[in-house]
């Protein structure tokens, strides 16, 4: 029997058309972090490479930061907001589970009535969104897709925990994915390792507060050494697979944009992957901290804005984090 269902008509390929970022106004130096923990500027820099981070003020909400970043990405892509067919928002620090924050953002940017939903995939969330966006564009359910990574991790930071108080930052990064005549997004190598779910986590579940009112607000904690080993050595293998599946080698690469978790992880990954010195490596963590889902688009935006990377460059992106989850892919920069 012949099917009567007519499929959607998608684009031959997809590409990232534009990128935008928003960093909160307030810059927080290590000195401020040191008021609450017994540590030093030197210790924080040597363990994380972080010198400053941005922390959002009351007006810089998850939605407000997203709208700013999205506006820049849409302008960079050269399309009208009304052309966007889907809005995908990755965040772990929007504190209302329903409705999804994506619908409010879609409305505020003037996108009309696109599909809109949130993604919970920690620091790999941007890569998860990017992969879904590529699928939607090629399959034909949306011509243009807005992918946003946004976090206010300062709200989930334990300022008295000397191993994480300095780590996290706030911000939003966005890209527009749209149709392309030639391949500009390679296969995604992604997955999860649920047996390591306890390695990075929110300390307390929300329903605890129903019974106990004197419990401290939750924070993100992690097992530093276990995460470091997984991130550097296991994720280097995933990154290599993304290169292999895209049909290129490290020599063909112009730019490396890993999740900005920690400078030590970035340095060790570069070493483990044996990246040639010609490859530009994103080191945005120094002045942005770890912004989870926002870190890759923010780092990408900064490399392009400063001229360290240029449109048309071939970039390897890899996100990894709580889950544990990961996503790596090779893209052409917008």
């Amino acid at each position: 029997m012949t099917s009567k269902i007519k499929p959607a008509k998608g684009a031959p390929y997809a590409r990232i058309m534009g990128v935008g970022g928003y960093r909160p106004v307030r810059v927080v130096p290590n000195e401020e972090i040191l008021k609450r923990i017994d540590s030093s500027d030197e210790w924080i820099r040597s363990r994380s490479g972080i010198a400053t981070r941005h922390w959002a003020g009351p007006e810089e909400t998850v939605a407000a930061m997203s709208v700013e970043a999205a506006g820049k990405a849409i302008a960079d892509a050269g399309i009208d907001p009304s052309q966007i067919g889907a809005v995908l928002v990755s965040t772990v620090s929007h504190f209302k589970q329903t409705p999804a924050i994506a619908t409010e953002i879609a409305h505020r940017i003037g996108a009309g009535n696109p599909a809109a939903f949130d993604i919970s995939a920690g620091c790999a969330g941007f890569g998860y969104g990017l992969t879904m966006a590529k699928g939607l564009v090629v399959e034909g359910s949306a011509e243009y897709v807005l992918v946003i990574g946004v976090e206010r991790l300062s709200d989930l930071t334990d300022l008295d925990d000397r191993s994480t108080a300095f780590l996290f930052g706030d911000g939003a990064g966005a890209v527009v994915v749209g149709p392309s005549d030639e391949p500009a997004m390679g296969p995604t190598v992604w997955g999860s390792e649920g047996d390591k779910a306890e390695t990075i986590k929110q300390t307390i579940a929300w329903d605890v507060y129903r019974e106990e009112t004197d419990v401290r607000f939750p924070a993100i904690t992690q097992e530093g050494q276990a995460v470091f080993r997984w991130a550097v050595f296991e994720m280097a293998k995933i990154a290599q697979q993304a290169l292999d599946q895209a049909g290129i080698t490290a020599e063909d690469l112009d730019v490396f944009v890993p999740h900005q978790a920690n400078m030590r992880i970035i340095d060790s990954m570069v070493k483990t992957l044996k990246l040639p010195e010609s490859v530009v490596v994103a080191r945005d963590v120094e002045t942005t901290g770890n912004t989870s889902a926002a870190s890759i688009p923010l780092a990408m935006e900064r490399l392009l804005a400063t001229g360290a990377a240029k449109s048309g460059d071939t970039a390897l992106l890899i996100g990894f984090g709580a889950g544990l989850v990961y996503a790596a892919t090779v893209v052409t920069l917008p």
């Binding site: 040597s46 363990r47 097992e223 530093g224 050494q225 276990a226 470091f228 080993r229 550097v232 060790s268």
Partner: protein, 82 residues
């Protein structure tokens, strides 16, 4: 092939030299990784992974914290090597 304690010490010295820049002759069995050899908790993970490859041994995360001195690591490898 099993390694002797002497070979393991020599290997660890080369690994610590590569990762932390400490001269190999300073890496002795009684030296503490963190206090004497400038190997912090993250560098320790790199030392462990390099040692795993070199000596064909598995050192799980929960055992890493017990390896305070070079001697602790050498004994662990000696006992657990294939």
């Amino acid at each position: 092939m099993a390694h002797t304690q002497e070979q393991i010490l020599e290997g660890l010295a080369e690994i610590v030299n590569e990762i932390a820049g400490i001269p190999t002759e300073e890496v002795k069995l009684d030296k503490s990784f963190t206090d004497d050899l400038d190997v912090d908790s993250l560098s320790m993970v790199e030392v462990v992974v390099a040692a795993e490859e070199r000596f064909e041994v598995k050192i799980p995360d929960e055992d890493v914290k017990n390896l305070k001195t070079v001697g602790d690591a050498a004994d662990y490898i000696l006992k657990h090597q294939a």
